[in-house]
Amino acid sequence: MALHSDYLTPSSPTTLRATGSVARRQAVSRLSRYVLLAATLSGVAVLVYLGYETIAKGWDRLSWGFLTSYPSRFAERAGLRSSILGSAWILGTTVILAIPIAIGTAVWIEEFAPRNKLLTIVKLNLANLAGVPSIIYGILGLAVFVRLMGLGPSILAGALTLTLMILPMTVIASQEAIRQVPPSIREGALALGATRWQTVRHHVIPGAMPGIMTGMILAVSRAAGETAALIMIGAFTFISFDNTGLSPTDSPPFVTPPPLGDDFTTVPVQIYNWTIRPQEAFRENAAAAIIVLMVAILSLNLVAAVIRERFRRHD
């Protein structure tokens, strides 16, 4: 009785084309590719649709005048001038504050801290904080920076709040980046008689920089679009002056140099303000502002990518 089965390999095949179970399995594999592609495309499709809608709505409103005018009761005359400046100042300050604190914290946690229970608690809390909604940070900022420390609804207060908000994610990203530096590099440096700090300074931090930068850029992009927290802080929605430190302002009793002490607004806050207005024209403004914000964030990411590549090629 001859045994015929898909499981027995014939001693010499007559054909090598896919047959039987092989053909079935291949068909499933091919199908899976298309299914996964569809999943990807559906997400992309939604984004493309949203982008198209926004651009269609706001494209006509874009103009140099739009970028350089102050907000106004009249939609046609309203512009992004103050909010662009406010965003720039607050993000700049945030970055200056956040980078050293984030890197320092991550380095301490990964390289120097004794491996005890306290460290575990710290790391656990950090992970939790990353998930806290931003409006909570806004409330915290209001209570501590604006009121308790008497900074008022200023750029400094806003920057401090945003720093706190992005700190968990930047520290975690920096930790990851530091962990990516192979232990063999550290061993190599220490075996040459370098101290721990020398090892960290010359090898770990430079090696982790691409990852740290990536984390920082993502966080800043997040902060650039932050609305709720800043509204809690008290970002004004109608700022008709530049935060250049030259215009008169109610400086709080706390000695903060302008423009850090200024009242301010940011682009997302401005967008929020325009979208809740009844007039359709303001919503066109909002759409245009969204386009500006998107372009800005994309350029930021581009710059970051370039910086990352420079760090990588330097070695």
Partner: protein, 285 residues
């Protein structure tokens, strides 16, 4: 008609000892000065003992090999010599390890001070992701050595037999070299801090046979000026390269101990301990 014995090992059973030889017999006398003296040294990770009561001497300006099966503690022992095990928080050592008569494990000894004088080359070549020049300059720089850096870089590369290969591309990344060249770069890097002893932890296991032989030649060259201690799981390599060999094994309680130490010739032709014989001839159980 006579027949050969079924078990060739009847040769060794009566002749060799299965008892632990007393320390004095276990360890052969050195032909020359000892630069490191290990006396009743044990090491622990927390409460787990990794090395049990090791005693022997490392001769100056010779190549000493540490061999033994996996888990026998040879790498641990090597890393004890330059205090690299300090990086593991639960580690502590007991007993004495004397370097020029000074105990490496005394309370006031700074590991950084030790590591300048006792260099290390690792199993997988680990050049820094920097230029070749920077790789070599790092050690002297962080140790604050006031030297003509270009000269030091050149002499280190010459001594590692790498100068001719890279003299025109010092600014190139260290990672662009082949595996064997990378390892020689790591050796040059270790030489730059002017150490007396160079520890090598399986330096050739990640390399192809030709690169391996080049490094072995280099070792013999370096042994004229430096003391070399090498851990290897390749017995042929120990046989080819080492002047003295120490054989370690894992005890039932998972601690490693020194079974036999003698000049390489004797260890490989007429070992004293049966366990050494079994390991060298590849007979386990």
């Amino acid at each position: 008609m006579l027949r050969a014995p079924d078990n060739v090992q009847t040769l060794t059973e009566e002749r060799l000892t299965t008892e632990y030889l007393p320390a004095a017999e276990r360890v052969a006398r050195l032909d020359g000065k000892a630069i490191i003296e290990v006396r009743n040294f044990s090491s622990y990770y927390g409460s787990f003992r990794a090395l049990h009561d090791v005693s022997f001497q490392i001769p100056e300006r010779k190549i000493t090999a540490l061999i033994g099966p996996s888990g026998c503690g040879k790498s641990t022992l090597l890393r004890c010599i330059n205090r690299m095990n300090d990086l593991v928080p639960s580690f502590h050592g007991e007993g004495e390890m004397l370097y020029h008569g000074l105990d490496l494990y005394a309370k006031d000894v700074d590991p950084v001070e030790v590591r300048r004088r006792i260099g290390m080359v690792f199993q997988k070549p680990n050049p820094f992701p920097k230029s070749i020049y920077e790789n070599i300059a790092f050690g002297p720089r962080v140790n604050g050595m006031k030297v003509n850096m270009a000269e030091l870089v050149e002499s280190s590369l010459r001594r590692a037999a790498l100068w001719d290969d890279v003299k025109d591309k010092l600014k190139q990344s260290g990672l662009a070299l082949s595996g064997g060249q990378q390892q020689r770069l790591c050796i040059a890097r270790a030489l730059a801090t002017q150490p007396e002893i160079i520890l090598m932890d399986e330096p050739c296991s990640a390399l192809d046979p030709i690169a391996t032989l080049k490094i072995e030649d280099l070792m013999r060259e370096l042994a004229k000026d430096y003391t070399i201690v090498i851990v290897t799981h390749n017995m042929q390599q120990a046989a080819r390269v080492a002047d003295y060999t120490a054989f370690l094994m894992m005890r039932p309680d998972r601690a490693g101990e020194l079974v036999e130490f003698s000049d390489t010739d004797s260890l490989f032709t007429t070992p004293k301990d049966k366990r050494t014989e079994d390991y060298i001839t590849g007979r386990f159980g």
